[in-house]
């Protein structure tokens, strides 16, 4: 397969792991860790690494700070016990002739056993209390009135995003406003599933939460920096689980307003591509897809009203280019074998017309 079909184009900005860390020690730890993980990353010039170590939203920050604290404790335990083990391995090797006599047999020691029971118990108490605090802080955070509400519905193998108060329906690429301290606007996601279990995971913005049918869940994000943040489905959901990618565009208020306004419009209706529109409306496309302003009201597949406003198709499996669109419609198995969209058995000309039509749907 030619490489260009696999290139992801689209706009994104470089992300800065900008966050205010509570202490210089954790800053040092994080720098060390980042260097460790960043080296191979930087070597590849990747700009969309969904790293837990680069939080950009309050839940992700809270988790990150907690993780540094836990790492400090577990690291210390490792240093002590590992060090003892290393010492023992070196110091108490059997050497030559003195292996003739058995060493003194020591059967146990109550004091020692007590000591190394009590200390772990204390460590557990500390870790537990710290963890509990963060759990409650994230999970039970009250939803402010200014929050943006988005309903996420997981499908095999794509994401449906609905903004109930804005009357917007889109797919796979989420646009949310940036949330600064001065103008906080967190996004609250309601998580539902239309079929099997999925999980919404954008590491830089929050921990993951599952989408389980008949079991609604909630989570929130408040990204501090505009940019593109990537993630993907994190609960095995079937054959193309690997290709259920997420792109979250954090927009400035102006950008978000413009985006929302566009999404609220009816579908573009250009007479030049009427042939393609005709194909769409007369073929089975309408059974699965919606294009607002046309007779197409299908909900099994993604809403295509503004499909050209997205950088990718097939939940990130391919870049949104006319060639890829053509290949996808001809046979979805090109990018996603096992995808629930069937090969439409259309002629080349029909597909060309369709692609021309879809290409106008900005």
């Amino acid at each position: 397969m030619p490489a260009r079909l696999l290139n992801l184009t689209g706009t994104w900005r470089t992300m800065q792991p900008g966050c205010s860390l509570s202490s210089s020690r954790s800053r040092l730890c994080s720098v060390a860790l980042l260097c460790l993980c960043a080296a191979p990353v930087l070597a590849e010039g990747a700009q969309s690494t969904p790293s837990i170590l680069a939080p950009a939203s309050t839940p992700a920050h809270e988790i990150y700070n907690l993780s540094l604290f836990v790492l400090l404790i577990t690291g210390s335990i490792f240093a002590v016990v590992g060090g003892l083990l290393a010492y023992v391995v070196v110091k108490f090797r059997a050497r030559g002739a003195d292996a003739e006599h058995e060493p003194p047999q020591i059967y146990g020691s109550t004091q020692v056993e007590l000591a190394w029971t009590v200390i772990p118990v204390l460590i557990v108490v500390v870790l537990f209390l710290t963890t509990a605090r963060i759990i409650f802080a994230i999970q039970d955070a009250p939803e402010p009135k200014s929050a943006l509400e988005v309903t996420v519905i997981g499908h095999q193998f794509w994401w449906e995003f609905r903004y109930p108060k804005l009357n917007i329906v889109t797919a796979n690429e989420l646009h949310i406003p940036v949330s600064t301290r001065g103008a906080p606007e967190p996004t609250y996601l309601s998580l539902l599933s239309a079929d099997v279990d999925h999980s919404f995971w954008v590491p830089q913005l929050a921990g993951k939460t599952d989408l389980i049918p008949n079991h609604p869940n909630e989570m929130w994000l408040d990204p501090h920096e505009p940019g593109l943040y990537v993630g993907q489905c994190a609960q095995f959901c079937g054959i193309e689980h690997a290709k259920m990618l997420i792109r979250v565009y954090v927009d400035t208020p102006e950008e978000f307003g413009a985006w929302a306004k566009n999404q609220q419009q009816l579908a573009v209706n250009e007479s030049a591509v009427a042939a393609g529109r005709q194909v769409f409306e007369s073929q089975a496309c309408v059974n699965c897809h919606t294009i607002v302003g046309t007779p197409a009201h299908g909900t099994f597949g993604p809403d295509l009203t503004h499909v050209m406003s997205r950088a990718t198709i097939a939940a990130g499996a391919a870049a949104n280019t006319p060639d890829n669109l053509h290949a996808w419609i001809q046979d979805p198995g090109t990018f996603k074998p096992g995808s629930l969209m069937p090969a439409m058995q259309l002629s080349d000309q029909q597909i060309d017309e369709l692609v021309a039509y879809l290409s106008t749907l900005h």
Partner: protein
């Protein structure tokens, strides 16, 4: 038949024709009820499937070595990771532990056989058949994507993916049925082990004089009784859903996908303790012998093992932190999971204390056990990290989790199984395994293991989820995945060296004698291999280390043991 022992290679038999002799030999193995033979059958079965599941892992690693690879189709990859996990847990893990239990428990307690020899044979053959049924799935039908019908729903098989609507083929059915069949075998083996340890000990061997391996198998068997059975129940429910139109996990009819998760993990978490406790038992036998000291804190080791078993039944939902339980619910499971780390840590400290002040001989079994202690320490610490629910919300279902449980399963369980094989192979076969090949095996496996699983922690932290057949090229995971795959190849080579060692030493290995390691438990007082009846006269013991008492008549254990 009753007086046949393992044939000493190279010696003549009295039978007339080669064909008849072979059939007689085969027949002996098929109808045997001798615990030693059944133990060998279990372990050979386990080693075979270790190679098979290892190959499945390598296939996956070739697919993941570069981004968006096309070595395996998505369907086949999903079958690979499902089968790899299922095989390793049930056909390698469970068979190893009950294989060693079968062979060693009667010998260690001075008994002639297990309590129920025919149940023993039944258990083995049920397990074996279940495994064959599982693998038959590859060829038992074309499958929906032309890749056969091997299970492809992951080893935890979450509902409703396993419902008829979303898995219309027979993949899930093979998974459920073969595991139910194996479950009967496991239950039989657990019951047998408990009955043997409680009812067949030789005179003087009180419960607190049993070798720690026997204790750990008792605890494991008790835990198995309440661990395997929830899985059987859940799988019966799944089959009712799939074939009788039931609604247990049918979310359209009010059923709950989360209920499956609870039932599965009520099995799934204690199951990993079922696997690791015998490994602890093996370490508790090998480390003292090679450190030339008694185990430090025997009563505490027993108490810690029992505590682990009990607490492990209360931690299961730490696999479900992202499912949307209440904050109180999440917090409870954080606490219980951290608590299970305490007795586990105590055991690590006791092993180190055993080595402290000793005169350590680093023969191959000890190399594997020392690496086990090191790796289990790390595994326990990453487990603590995962128990921090909020951090778990990031790490769950990522490669960090895969790294953690491979540290516990490969880095701890498999290392102990290798140690056990190097340690007891001389007893079973009468031949020593080659130390040179053993050291090659150890070092290559150690290096490959760390290359693979240390790196996995990092790629998980960089956001790579599990169960994906391919990944995007621009996520920064490429180099790390290549390293992981390279480490896998090295481990594969190491295991092949090990397999060669097993075969070559059987034919040409040095004679072992009764007690090549200068050890202290009863099995080392028998010839190698032991006769079918184990002991000509029932042993009588006065301490935990009967052979130490014999070898040190001026300084016997029973003078000092509490």
């Amino acid at each position: 038949m009753a007086d046949q022992t393992l044939p000493i290679p190279g010696s003549l038999t009295a039978t007339p024709t080669r064909g008849a002799a072979f059939l007689e030999w085969l027949h002996g193995w098929v109808v045997t009820v001798d615990h030693k033979r059944l133990g060998v059958l279990y372990v050979v079965y386990a080693i075979f499937f270790l190679l098979v599941a290892g190959a499945e892992a390598l296939a996956m690693r070739i697919q993941l070595a570069i981004p968006n690879n096309h070595f395996l189709s998505p369907e086949f990859y999903n079958e690979m990771f499902t089968m790899h996990g299922t095989t390793m847990v049930f056909l390698v893990g469970m068979t190893f532990i009950f294989g060693f239990a079968n062979y060693l428990v009667p010998l260690m307690i001075g008994a002639r056989d297990m309590a129920f020899p025919r149940l023993n044979a039944f258990s083995f053959w049920m397990t074996a058949f279940g495994g064959l049924l599982l693998y038959f799935s590859f060829i038992g039908g074309f499958g929906l994507y032309g890749m056969g019908s091997a299970p492809d729903v992951s080893w935890w098989a979450y509902a409703p993916l396993t419902a008829k609507a979303f898995s219309p083929g027979h993949n899930t059915d093979y998974w459920a049925l073969s595991l139910i069949v194996m479950g009967f075998g496991t239950l039989g083996a657990a019951i047998n082990t408990l009955a043997t340890a409680f009812s067949m000990r030789c005179r003087g061997m009180t419960l607190f004089r049993m070798p720690l391996f026997v204790w750990l198998m008792v605890v494991t068997s008790g835990l198995t009784l309440i661990t395997i059975t929830p899985l059987t129940a859940a799988q019966v429910m799944l089959i009712i859903d799939r074939y009788l139109g039931g609604h247990f996990f049918d979310t359209q009819a009010g059923g709950s996908a989360v209920v499956w998760m609870h039932f599965f993990w009520i099995f799934g978490h204690p199951e990993v303790y079922v696997l690791i406790l015998p490994a602890f038992g093996i370490a508790s036998e090998v480390i003292p012998v090679f450190s030339r000291k008694a185990i430090f804190g025997y009563p505490v080791m027993v108490a810690a093992s029992v505590a682990i078993a009990f607490i492990s039944t209360s931690v299961w939902a730490h696999h479900m932190f992202t499912v949307g339980m209440t904050s109180v619910g999440n917090t409870f499971f954080v606490l219980s999971t951290m608590m299970v780390g305490i007795p586990t840590g105590i055991k690590i400290f006791n092993w180190v204390a055993t080595m402290w002040g000793g005169k350590i001989r680093f023969a191959t079994p000890m190399l594997f056990c020392t690496a086990f202690v090191f790796q289990f320490l790390i595994a326990g610490l990453t487990g603590i990290m995962l128990s921090v629910a909020a951090w778990n919300w990031q790490l769950h279902n990522s490669y960090f989790v895969i790294a953690h449980f491979h540290y516990t399963l490969t880095g701890s369980f498999v290392f102990c199984m290798f140690a056990a094989i190097y340690y007891w192979y001389p007893k079973v076969t009468g031949r020593m395994l080659s130390e040179t090949l053993g050291k090659w095996h150890f070092w290559l496996f150690f290096i490959g293991f760390h290359l693979t699983f240390d790196t996995m922690h990092f790629v998980g932290i960089l956001g790579m989820p599990r169960s994906i057949y391919a990944y995007e090229a621009d996520r920064g995971w490429n180099t790390l995945n290549m390293i992981i795959s390279a480490g896998g190849m090295i481990q594969g080579i190491a295991v092949l060296i090990f397999a060669w060692n097993l075969i070559d030493s059987y034919l040409h290995g040095k004679g072992a004698g009764n007690d090549p390691w200068d050890a202290w438990t009863l099995e080392w007082s028998t010839p190698s291999p032991p006769p079918a009846y184990n002991y000509a006269a029932d042993p009588v013991v006065r301490s935990r280390r009967p052979l130490w008492d014999i070898k040190h008549p001026n300084d016997p254990d029973w003078k000092y043991e509490q």
